[in-house]
Symmetry: C2
Subunit: 262 residues, 2 copies
DNA sequence: CGTAACTTTGAAATAGCTCAAAAATTGTGG
DNA sequence: CCACAATTTTTGAGCTATTTCAAAGTTACG
């Protein structure tokens, strides 16, 4: 079952682990290295900044708007959603996060968030205390830019979603989201060929796309019938990537997938 | 007349001025000080980072997507729009910028932008070379956080626009934009009582709101008839702020208008 | 003062929504 | 491992917010 925000939170036993586990932040490093270089020293600085590892079941709001935050959350596994609800109960997801993403690196400078963050699937996360981030900004200018870049990348995703929400048709929005996630999950090694796991309900997809779940259902059928992409039991199978990207008018340049000079 | 992107750019004679002009960046400082404190030394570092002053007429695309950038643009006067066009010619504005905003501080870490930026009114800007920003990040950790915060604030605005575009009705979107600009222009001293200058066409408003200009026209009439707000000849007059905010479901917390600890 | 840009209005069309219910799937306790 | 309960998906039928198309006013400026 998937829980809505507002349900009583279940206490999650924080599964403390050795934060230095070499493989743990592998996907995070893959994401950084898709765009920049990291020195051994910088990698060490990142590892040294890690706090506790925790696991959360699906459907938990793990960060609430307006709460003062003293750490950021790095997603190791699972899918997180940033979202806002209107009084009517309508929800808009403003970004999805995948393994390797910071869910709320922006809380380092904002101190509190203007939105909630919830788990859409079971998630493993590691905390990064702001004090440690501050030390990084004082000692590692390049690494600071790397993380500043990461928050600017979130903003670029927000902009592309604004274009989808404001101007793309329902089918193009859906196609665009599948394209984006294909790229983002590919970067961190979570795509096998033309397939990737995406354990969201059609309601959750609709909350990303500014549509109703009923219409998402119809749009998924249309995409399937056109032979572009299939979404079934939490798995996306891209049948015709060129077609899908044409429907979406997808241009990955907003994901900044090129190496930058230090 | 307002020019569309794609028109031949007119050469703008860069009006070089003494970059140190004390008042010049006043609005920029007001914006920062609405959320943080600045030491005299930091203020000096900002002034020392300024490059050339330029003026552009309305309707010029002053920064193009994908171009490599070596400086950022601080808006001194006027209104700028970040936008993306679809193949159909439909345009989505992803953020409006007002005096005191950096239009593209994110280009410091991104190196190139995923969107164009154009002047919607005549604009005066001052450039800030990235080399100077880099020097700031190496010598002024707090000021670095202030500017990182500024880009995170842009992202917060993007998120709120995603909510508008995805879930708000046309009338609420329009009302919300008027509320947002009332606050943002107020911060930099550009609101007189219940009125502020906003020299945009209804087409430009529609490009912000994911609507057609025809529907913007009808929505403006509705807001006027309800007695909430009037928009006439480039001027917004708020007749009933409480009503306007109720229509918009406006909550300014996403604008982070509180002082933060250094 | 003429012309381009912008605003306003009307009428018809439609993409996506709402409401409702059935079918399929998934998770759970026994 | 089964059977139930809950969740999720699917489909149908009617509805509506917003778009489209078209044309008439209005404003602004060279």
């Amino acid at each position: 079952m998937k829980w809505r925000a507002g349900d009583a939170p279940t206490i999650t036993a924080p599964a403390k682990q050795t934060a230095g586990d070499t493989r743990m932040i592998e996907r995070h490093l893959m994401k950084i290295r898709a765009r920049d270089t990291l020195s051994a020293e910088e990698e060490q600085a990142i590892r040294g900044a890690l706090g506790e590892v925790r696991t959360h079941p699906a459907g938990r709001t793990i960060i609430r708007a307006h709460e003062e935050l003293s750490e950021s959350t790095l997603l190791l596994d699972g899918i997180l959603a940033r979202f806002k609800d209107l009084r009517s109960g309508q929800r808009q997801v403003t970004e999805l996060h995948v393994a390797g993403d910071f869910a709320d690196l922006h809380s380092f400078t904002l101190k509190r968030l203007d939105h909630d963050i919830m788990t859409l699937t079971p998630c493993r996360i590691v905390t990064v205390p702001h004090d440690n981030l501050r030390r990084i900004t004082e000692a590692h200018p390049h690494l600071t830019r790397v993380y500043w870049f990461a928050t600017n990348l979130d903003a670029a995703v927000h902009r592309e979603w604004e274009v989808s929400l404001g101007r793309r048709t329902a089918i193009a929005r859906m196609a665009h989201l599948f394209c984006e996630l294909h790229v983002r999950l590919g970067i961190v090694g979570l795509v096998e060929g033309n397939r990737y796991q995406l354990d969201l309900t059609q309601l959750e997809l609709s909350e990303c796309l500014g549509l109703t779940s009923v219409h998402v259902n119809r749009v998924l059928r249309e995409l399937r019938e056109q032979g572009a992409v299939e979404f079934r039991s939490g798995r996306v199978t891209i049948r015709d990537r060129a077609l899908l990207e044409r429907i979406a008018e997808f241009n990955p340049s907003y994901l900044y997938l090129e190496q930058r000079a230090r």
